[in-house]
């Protein structure tokens, strides 16, 4: 029993053979994850800022965007971009389709989280800043947003981790990331060890990210 477990899940021969492939997959996964984090959080912050300007022509589309992309499963969005796009003349690689769909998902959540942060900054902060002659946008940018971002960090790190993990979805659109390479290796070797390797590879990437998020939450917590 134990020998079978080892043979199938922790087979060193197989592991050694497919290590380079899993390693390449890790690089693609990291590349995707970094792009998604920057695009998603940046876009989310920008949208929250624009929404806070209280121009209806902007804030309505932002709210609708955020609601739709929080509701849609990212896999559905990804498959639409990748498989349905070509029918209307939009062709993109699986990598780009994954980057876009997950960035939009993260942006939608991040916008809502930043927005909640903006709302939770007290009215007194607005009044103090405006009373010194700062304009609305200046007050938002210099006084309110820095505090809102700080309040947003714990929920934001959780959501960021949740969305970046979904880069595994890219395996369905032919991106050679960790899971896709592991599945291919598993098929060729008729052995499930590559899947164990994939799980370990994800842990190697995401455990430090989780630890980093803890550090950030601690670092930016208000000292009272």
């Amino acid at each position: 029993m134990l020998a079978r477990l080892q043979e199938n899940f922790f087979n060193l021969d197989v592991a050694w053979r497919y290590l380079p492939s899993i390693g390449e997959g890790m690089i693609v996964t990291i590349h995707l994850a970094v792009l998604i984090v920057f695009t998603g959080l940046g876009l989310g912050l920008l949208l929250a800022f624009l929404r806070a300007l209280q121009w209806r022509v902007l804030s309505w589309p932002i709210v609708i965007f955020a609601d739709i992309f929080r509701a849609l499963p990212p896999l559905v969005v990804l498959i639409i971009f990748y498989f349905a796009g070509p029918f209307v003349g939009i062709r993109m690689s699986g990598f780009v389709a994954t980057w876009l769909s997950l960035s939009l998902a993260l942006a939608a959540f991040a916008e809502e989280i930043f927005w909640a942060g903006i709302l939770s900054v007290g009215r007194g902060q607005w009044e103090a800043a405006r009373s010194t002659g700062l304009r609305y946008g200046q007050t938002l940018g210099y006084v309110v947003l820095p505090q809102a971002v700080r309040l947003a960090i714990p929920p934001l790190t959780n959501r960021t981790i949740a969305v970046t993990k979904m880069t595994a979805l890219a395996s369905v659109v032919a991106v050679e990331e960790i899971l896709a390479n592991a599945a291919t290796a598993q098929a060729y070797s008729a052995n499930t060890t590559p899947l164990t390797m994939a799980a370990i590879a994800y842990l190697v990437i995401f455990v430090p990210l989780v630890a980093f998020s803890r550090w950030i939450e601690h670092r930016f917590a208000w000292k009272h």
Partner: protein, 249 residues
Amino acid sequence: MSTTSEPILRVEGLHKSFAGVEVLHGVDLAVAPQELVFIIGPSGSGKSTLLRCCNRLEEPTSGRIVVDGTDITARSTDINVVRRGIGMVFQSFNLYPHMSALGNVTLALTKVLGKSRAEATEIGRAALDRVGLLFKEAAFPNELSGGQQQRVAIARALALEPKVMLFDEPTSALDPELVGSVLAVMRDMRLSGMTMIVVSHEMRFARDAADRVVFMDAGRIVEEGPPEQIFTRPQHQRTSTFLEAVGGH
């Protein structure tokens, strides 16, 4: 103080309603340069609302407010320019928690007045020195006592060299032993000739430092006069009832 000179702040027929409920029923008030006007009255009498209309943190429903010759309620007036000349100090301090004391004081200097960082730092440090807190310039608000926070807030307003300072219950959120330090700064400002309008329950300070005391009740100015008159010979029953209740006699 001379009250014959042109008032630096004039409120005329000010009405203010919140959601259809009128809280100010036509207030007239003129404040002379360098005057310290103290507004007292029961809670809900409209004194804070009156003060907050003076820099349009509250939008007047009708009436006119003229500050240093500018009708601040006029459509053509850029309120952000007007506010540079009107400092405000709040009950809850409202310091920016993510900035140091100096950062709090210099923000508007650089972003509103367009001063260079070096110049803003120089002005900001001078303002902190005036409130006795230069040694705390690097401290963040959560590292300061309530009294110190309020003095930084005063420095933040002072740094812009306002023509008028509005104080909205500046000591109400403070522990009793910290009130004195804030009042001392306000007394010092009065001596240096700042025009001040103060909403507060510090009756002793009103007696000592005010040029004029205004008693408000139910959205109207009931009576006004020099402190010794209001506190010792009030003309209206409502005034004496209020003063008895707060022990101001």
